[in-house]
């Protein structure tokens, strides 16, 4: 954390001298610039014969790593499975906390105990302990729930490891190459919900965690649909002449922002679903696209060509006032507002197209080193970003921690992956 902060104060200082209000600097954080908070997750007792995907310690350590906040350290043969058995001297210097636990067969599945032990005060101190009955088949899900509790206890903010993603999978060898799927946020437990011989685009979660809006070309033109993933019923929402694309749910789930070209060129509209009223938001001869809501639902961020190359703008939905958000001379696309309203995640053309952040305080910096990044989506807690990029000749789903320290490819087999969309906390 220290080095990271130092890098930042240096940056701020630099701009102070440079005297520009708006930063055009692109800084790539290469990962490993600093290590995160040290934590040890000891393999759970009673799990020696468990299947790999039920390795609770592995699931928890992976979750905490992806946040970019923690750097789990290998347990090194540690056997403790209760808080009583934890000895500070058994763990590497600087270890902040230890997670221990055990799994036993229960009446309808498993009984799982875990304890979170703090080592910061010298003597081990159990700061959290939970015993739970976990139905068979849901051990992995419960592992994410333990991660959430550990993360929240140690950081004071929600982890969001129990959330899900939706995405489009393309598998051109298949009769129906375009597939709409959902999975746990880490890419596991994939469920294909809808398949088509024609393109599918832009699935987006409503805040209820059970409705997706998406675009389908099944009638030889782009149309916006919604799909209830529980009842498996779908509705055709818009079918105007021209583009019907990029649906984006308002934070309260009442409206969809979207892009329609029915009036001559791509413009942003907001459709209130209950009232069926359509409000035109933008009006200019260039392309306006990629609407994204501010967390309070009062502003839309979007991409516009009104100033030449595509740049990010925002519009106040009550006053109509438009302001420019990005100023770097290259293309800036796909804005997503951080849940704490501290800035936006976007695709910035810097060498290639890279997932980047622009803080509202001014600085713009890349989070990846790849060149074909697309469709960034931010976890509800703001700690992780999932996007698609090309690796090894295929489009894969990748994750980067929002602080840029950690990157991982989540799904890279069984097809190519596009349009990831992160659910809210209600996603599971």
């Amino acid at each position: 954390m220290k080095v990271w902060e130092k890098a930042f104060s240096a940056l701020v200082l630099f701009w102070g001298f440079a005297g520009t209000g708006q930063a055009d600097l692109n800084l790539e954080i290469t990962g490993g610039m600093d290590i995160g908070r040290k934590i040890v997750v000891v393999p759970f007792g009673g799990q020696s014969a468990a299947r790999e995907d039920q390795d609770l310690a592995g699931i928890i350590a992976a979750d905490l790593t992806r946040s970019g906040v923690f750097s789990p350290v290998a347990a090194g043969g540690q056997k403790a499975s209760t808080g009583d058995e934890v000895r500070t001297s058994d763990f590497p210097a600087g270890t902040e906390a230890v997670v221990v636990g055990r799994v036993a067969k229960g009446a309808s599945g498993y009984v799982v105990n875990f304890e979170l032990v703090s080592l910061t005060s010298g003597n081990p101190l159990v700061i959290q302990g939970v015993k739970a009955d976990v139905p068979a088949g849901r051990l992995r899900e419960y592992g994410h729930r333990i991660s959430d509790q550990v993360y929240e206890k140690l950081t004071g903010t929600k982890g969001g490891f129990g959330t899900r993603i939706a995405y489009i999978k393309r598998s051109f060898a298949s009769k129906h190459p375009y597939q709409l799927a959902v999975a746990d946020y880490d890419g596991k437990n994939e469920k294909v919900l809808l398949v088509s011989s024609q393109p599918l685009m832009s699935p987006r979660w409503r805040n209820d965690g059970r409705t997706l809006a998406y675009v389908s070309f099944e009638q030889r033109k782009p149309q916006i649909y919604t799909l209830d993933i529980v009842s498996r019923s779908r509705k055709l929402i818009t079918s105007f002449p021209g583009l019907n694309s990029n649906p984006a749910w308002s934070p309260d789930g009442s409206s969809l922002a979207m892009v329609l070209s029915k009036d001559g060129n791509p413009e942003i509209y907001v459709l209130n679903l209950a009232a069926r009223s359509l409000k035109r938001i933008t009006s200019n001869p260039g392309i306006d696209t990629e609407p994204s809501w501010s967390p309070d639902g009062r502003n839309l961020y979007f991409v516009s060509e009104r100033a030449g190359a595509p740049q990010v703008f925002s519009v106040d939905l009550s006053s109509g006032a438009v302001s420019r958000v990005t100023r770097s001379p290259v293309k800036n696309l796909s804005p997503v507002v951080m849940p704490d309203n501290s800035g936006i995640v976007l695709i910035n053309q810097n060498g290639g197209f890279r997932v980047s952040r622009q803080d509202f305080s001014g600085s713009l910096y890349s989070l990846t080193g790849t060149s074909l990044d697309e469709s960034p989506t931010v976890s509800p807690g703001g700690n992780m970003i999932i996007y698609n990029t090309v690796k090894g000749g295929r489009s894969v789903l990748a994750l980067v921690s929002a602080n840029g320290r950690y990157r991982e490819v989540l799904r890279n087999s069984g097809g190519e992956y596009y349009f990831p969309s992160w659910s809210g906390y209600a996603g599971k």
Binding site: H176, Y178, Q179, K191, V192, L193, V195, S196, S197, Q198, M201, S202, S216, F217, E218, Q219, R220, K221, P222, Y225, T226, S231, R232, S233, R234, K235, L236, P241, G242, L243, S245, N246, V259, S261, K262, D263, P266, Y269, R276, S277, L278, R280, T282, S283, N284, I287, T289, E290, G320, V322, L333, S334, I347, F353, L372, E374, S375, G393, S395, F419
Partner: protein
């Protein structure tokens, strides 16, 4: 069923080429009075399922199947279908000069075969973002439509659709594939 889509496609063109008047609004967020938004149609019955997933989207039927054409027209149509792709430069919707004779051949045929309709598909390469690219693809399709209109093809024979980067001709992620994917296709 199909007829309804034809109407929509023609409407697309008319709207995009600015041939019909539509009230434009300032960015003051006024409700768009030109928009009539019907209740969403619920499409739940009749969905077929495969391995737990809903299956949609058949291969598209040609709008010209079943048209009465002379033998000569039929032969001409077959030939034009083999030479119907315009490739574009990066980030451009300008039609390169070497496609002018291709477009003239299509226009000559369409002017004489007035019942034949075309759908111009606009495509992009994968660079940039898919949402931006679908807007760029529409621009390419519109550029070809405008060229054919200028050559005297009636607007009601032309419709456009953009697929952005969603239907690549080549699936690889390299310069060679990108060159082939930045294209407009005149589909009969």
């Amino acid at each position: 069923m199909l007829k309804k889509y034809f109407f929509c496609f023609s409407a697309v063109l008319l709207f995009t080429l600015g041939l019909t008047g539509c009230a434009t609004k300032n960015e003051d967020g006024n409700t768009d009075s030109t928009a009539i938004v019907e209740d969403p149609s619920i499409v739940e019955s009749g969905d077929s399922m495969e391995n737990g997933a809903i299956v949609v989207g058949d291969d598209y039927a040609s709008p010209n199947d079943g048209l009465e054409l002379s033998r000569e027209q039929r032969a001409k149509l077959q030939a034009l279908k083999q030479d119907n792709v315009i490739y574009f430069a990066f980030d451009s919707d300008a039609i390169p000069n070497n496609y002018i004779s291709l477009l003239e051949a299509h226009a000559d045929f369409l002017r004489t075969a007035s019942k034949v309709t075309i759908i111009i598909e606009g495509h992009t390469d994968e660079r940039g973002t898919p949402e931006y690219n679908i807007a760029l693809g529409e621009r390419r399709a519109r550029s070809v439509a405008q060229y054919l209109l200028n050559l005297g093809v009636p607007a009601q024979q032309i419709s456009i659709v953009s697929y952005g980067e969603e239907k690549p001709q080549l699936f690889e992620h390299n310069e060679n594939a990108w060159k082939k994917n930045r294209r407009a296709v005149i589909s009969y």
